[in-house]
Symmetry: C2
Subunit: 221 residues, 2 copies
Amino acid sequence: MARESVTAKRRTPKAPEDRIRARNEATILRAAVELFARKGFDGTRIAEIAEASGLPKANVYYYFETKEAIYATLIERLLKGWDKALEHIRADREPREAIAAYIAAKLDYSRRHGTESRFFANEIMRGGAFLSKAQRRHMQEITRERVDVVDGWVRDGRLRPLDPRHFFMMLWASTQFYADFAEVAAMTLGKPKLDAADYEAARRTVVDVIVAGCLAAESRP
Amino acid sequence: MARESVTAKRRTPKAPEDRIRARNEATILRAAVELFARKGFDGTRIAEIAEASGLPKANVYYYFETKEAIYATLIERLLKGWDKALEHIRADREPREAIAAYIAAKLDYSRRHGTESRFFANEIMRGGAFLSKAQRRHMQEITRERVDVVDGWVRDGRLRPLDPRHFFMMLWASTQFYADFAEVAAMTLGKPKLDAADYEAARRTVVDVIVAGCLAAESRP
DNA sequence: CAGGAACTTGACATTCTGGTCAGGTTTTGG
DNA sequence: CCAAAACCTGACCAGAATGTCAAGTTCCTG
C-alpha cells in the first residue's frame, strides 16, 4: 500500500525528512516503547499508545498498519544499538581498558535509555518471538566476534582461563541490571530513584570486581 | 465469602489438604505463572489460563475471585523463596565459600524454577506495582542484613573495598540472568536450550570471576 | 493558486474480555 | 444412604479493544 511506515517513499524525496510524518511517527514510537516496556506487547492497547501520544487512535493507524508494525519498528531500531557497546572489545586494546570501557558504555546506556533497554529485555524474556531469523543470526555473529577477542586474550595469558561466553553474559547481566531492575536497585540503595552518583558507584564496583576477577594473576597489580 | 483461595477454612479440617481444591489451585497457578511470565499481567487472559489448566473459565473463577488474586497468590509464594539463597551469606562463614554457595544456589534456582524466576523478574521490571508496602519493606530488610554481613567482611579486610550494595546487585544480576535470559544465553552458546553442563560452566565462571574479583589481595591464592 | 497528495478524525462494526450466575453433579461426614 | 457442602459449567452481560471508513482539512508542487 501507499504508506509503509518508516521506509515509505513519497512522491518526491523533498525535504530531508517528511516533517509531519517523521514527527508523528517519532511521537508514537516514543510513547509505544514506554508502554511496551512496562506492559509488554499483549498488555499494551493501541488506544493507550494513541492517548499517550496525544493523537486520535485512527491517526495512529494511519501511520502504522498494526500494533505489530509498531513493535517491529522498535525492535529494528533497538537492534542497531545492540552492538554499539561491544565495539569497545577490540583485540588491539588492553583487556583491562577495553572491559572497563564496555562496562562504562553499557551502564551509561542503561542510565540514558532505560526504557528502550527494558523494552528490549522484555522482548528477549518472552523468547524473542519477534526477532527474525536474520536478526537472531546477526546478534549471534556480533557476539561471536567479541567472544573470539576475549578468547584470544585468554590464550595470550592476559586473562585467567575462563569461558568467554559466560564471561560475556556476566558483563551483560551486571550492566543490563541497572536498566531493567532500576527499581530494585533504588530500593536496595534506599532511594526513590537512581542518580548519576549511583551509576558511578555501580560502574566502579562492577569494573573493580570484574577486572580484578578476570585478569591473569601476573598482570594484576 | 465462603472460599478464600488458599487460606479458606472448610467445615472440617478433614484431610491433610482438600485434595480437589489443592489440586485445582495448583494446576491453575502452574498455568498462570507460565503465562504471566511470558505475557505479563495485562497481557494474560483468564481464558488462556483456563485453557492451559484444562478447566472451564468459570471454574477458574470458582477458585480465584479475580485475576489479581491469582497474581497476588503467586507473588506471595515467590517472595518466600526470595531470601532462601541469601541465607548462605552469613557472617560466620568464610567469604569465599559463602559467596560461592550463594551463586550456586541462585543459579540452581534459575535452572529449576526458570519460569517462577522470570515471573518475579517481570513483576519487578514493571516497578513492582503489586508488591505491598510490607513486602517491599521485607525485601529491603532481608537485603540490608546481608549487605551488613558483606560490609563486615570489607571492614575486616577480608574483601577488597567495595560497595556491598552494588556488589550484591552484581551477584543477583549474574545469576538471575540465566533464568530471565535463558534464551539469549542459549543463543550465545549456540544451543537450542541450556543443559546441566551449561549451568555448571556458568557457575564456575561466575564464581571464579566474582570470588577472585572481590577477595582482598592478601587472601587471594 | 489549483489540484492532488498527505494528513486528520469522529463514528462505527466486530470481536474479545473480565466477570457473573443459576442450576446442575459429585463428595463427604454422619 | 442422605442431606449439605463443595464443586462444576454453559450461557450470558457490559464494557472495552481492534481495526475500518468516509468525509473532511492541510500541505506541497507545478
